[in-house]
């Protein structure tokens, strides 16, 4: 053999190059690993586990870049899943390492011959790349249109199938997404994205498997080969061997497989449970946030309501002030005083306060005077009930007038006339205390002395 490092001829059985000390043993080991990975990749490709096959074959060429079979198969797998550019890249590299007797040359030639198809595949890849951008910009509808077009041109484009399914799931079109996922799984049954989406849509179903024509043909061919004539003794031996093999198979394959299935189911349920818990926490948090938002909103509405009520009261007070003004102008002093008295000074807006004060000064004094005169007249007529009302109104509206002492004195006299001595004493005392030095106070003092 030729030493790969110094390129001299060396004996096959050596473990090290005598000239450059290159580790031939390790070199052979790497070649063997690459070959084993290729075989694994081939088996996976036959079983349509194309994603797994890509993993194995990529490793195979990492160990030995000149493993032409692995590289050609890697290109073929890329081609099968619609990754046309990647397939072509692998084949071109392959032809770089082996320029003759290389099937990759044939693949490239075939593609070059079908120029229109090449263009279509390339367009489908461009559309897919564009769709990724659209989806990233939250334009899932545009992404779906692009991907559907891409799949028309390149029906085996697994990544496009998965992306269109994802976009449809985002749009909540679960039933429409399913055929794309199934299609992806038919082409590549080990595609992790498709498996994930399928489990999301059909949590309790098994992943669908496609029986390939090629694999079916291989199996049929193997069955045909095994049909050989047996002698009676051969039948007995065959039966015994068959029974032993079946038992062994049961022990080796079926039971562990069943255990694996159950373990997988438990794992799936665990994942499902975790997802449910996460979803529950999320919903709980969302609900709490919604409640907080609603409470805040309610507070704002109540505040606004309070402000509006305040404004409404203020407006009513302003209307009353205007009515008082009108009544006063129309000489309806007593009515004006009643209305003015009913006003709540605290609710009057600042801009109307001056008007209110001005009206209070005029209306209450005039009303107190009018009521005092009415009370005095009623007292003269001995209409004591009316006189009490009028005099009390006079004192209610104004107490610092020149007749206020007499209003109290007259009230005392009325109650004395009515034999309500206690009440009479009360009014005389008020006149004496509140208006000292006045006529009303002097008269009250004299009357009070007589009552004692």
């Amino acid at each position: 053999m030729i030493c790969p490092a110094c390129h001299i001829e060396i004996q096959e059985n050596l473990s090290q190059c005598p000239r450059c000390q290159f580790n031939i043993f390790l070199y052979r080991k790497l070649k063997a690993i690459s070959l084993r990975l290729y075989n694994k990749g081939l088996e996976q490709a036959n079983n349509r586990e194309l994603t797994n096959a890509i993993g194995s074959l990529s490793k195979a060429v990492e160990f030995d870049k000149t493993n032409i079979n692995a590289r050609n198969l890697l290109g073929l797998v890329y081609y099968e899943i619609g990754e046309f550019g990647q397939a072509l890249a692998e084949w071109v590299i392959s032809t770089h390492f082996q320029k003759e007797d290389n099937i990759a040359l044939d693949y490239i030639k075939r593609i070059q011959r079908s120029g229109r198809k090449l263009e279509q595949y390339n367009d489908s890849i461009r559309m897919f790349n564009q769709a990724i951008e659209y989806a990233g910009q939250r334009s899932e509808d545009l992404a779906i249109i692009q991907l559907k077009k891409a799949l028309q041109l390149n029906p085996n484009f697994v990544e496009a199938c998965c992306l269109v399914a994802l976009c449809l799931l985002k749009e909540n079109e679960k039933e429409k997404a399913l055929p794309y996922i199934e299609k992806a799984l038919e082409i590549d049954m080990s595609n992790s994205k498709a498996i994930r989406y399928y489990r999301e849509l059909r949590p309790n179903s098994f992943i669908p498997r496609r029986e390939d024509k090629s694999t079916a043909t291989i199996r049929a061919h193997r069955r045909r080969k095994s049909k050989a004539p047996f002698s009676p003794m051969g039948h007995i031996i065959g039966f015994v061997v068959g029974a032993i093999c079946t038992a062994a198979l049961l022990l080796i394959l079926v039971i562990p497989d069943r255990v694996n299935v159950l373990t997988k189911q438990i794992e799936d349920l665990d994942i499902k449970n975790q997802n449910l818990e996460i979803e529950y926490s999320r919903l709980k948090q969302e609900s709490q946030e919604t409640i907080s938002d609603l409470e805040e909103e309610n507070r704002k509405v109540l505040d606004m309501n309070g402000q509006l009520q305040q404004r409404q009261i203020a407006l009513e007070e302003v209307q009353k002030i205007n009515q008082v003004q009108i009544l006063y102008n129309n000489k309806k002093i007593e009515d004006a005083a009643v209305l003015l008295y009913s006003l709540d000074a605290f609710n009057i807006p600042e801009e109307n306060r001056a008007t209110y004060d001005e009206l209070s000064n005029k209306v209450f004094i005039d009303a107190a005077s009018a009521h005092y005169n009415n009370g005095q007249s009623a007292y003269s007529r001995k209409d004591y009930d009316k006189a009490i009302v009028e005099l009390e109104k006079s004192l209610l509206y104004a107490r610092e007038q020149y007749y206020s002492d007499n209003a109290l004195y007259y009230l005392g006299r009325i109650y004395e006339e009515q034999d309500n001595i206690e009440k009479a004493k009360e009014f005389y005392s008020q006149a004496i205390d509140q208006y000292p030095g006045t006529d009303g106070a002097a008269n009250s003092k004299w009357r009070l002395g007589k009552l004692k």
């Binding site: 490092a5 450059c20 060429v61 990492e62 870049k65 046309f84 590299i93 890849i125 790349n129």
Partner: protein, 51 residues
């Protein structure tokens, strides 16, 4: 539950035909055997230096 954004990150742009040449040129293809050869040559140079 599928997180759209998270899933979308797993999708990478596919290689277009126009980009093949660039990819082949930019990545000098190395394998484990190259690495082994490189180590051997380094050892060779060191031993020559000692002599």
């Amino acid at each position: 539950m599928i997180d759209f954004k998270e899933e979308l990150r797993k999708f990478k742009p596919a290689l277009e035909v126009d980009g093949i040449e660039e990819v082949i040129k930019s990545n000098e293809i190395k394998d484990m055997i190259d690495l082994l050869t490189h180590i051997t040559r380094n050892l060779e140079i060191k031993s020559e230096g000692k002599e």
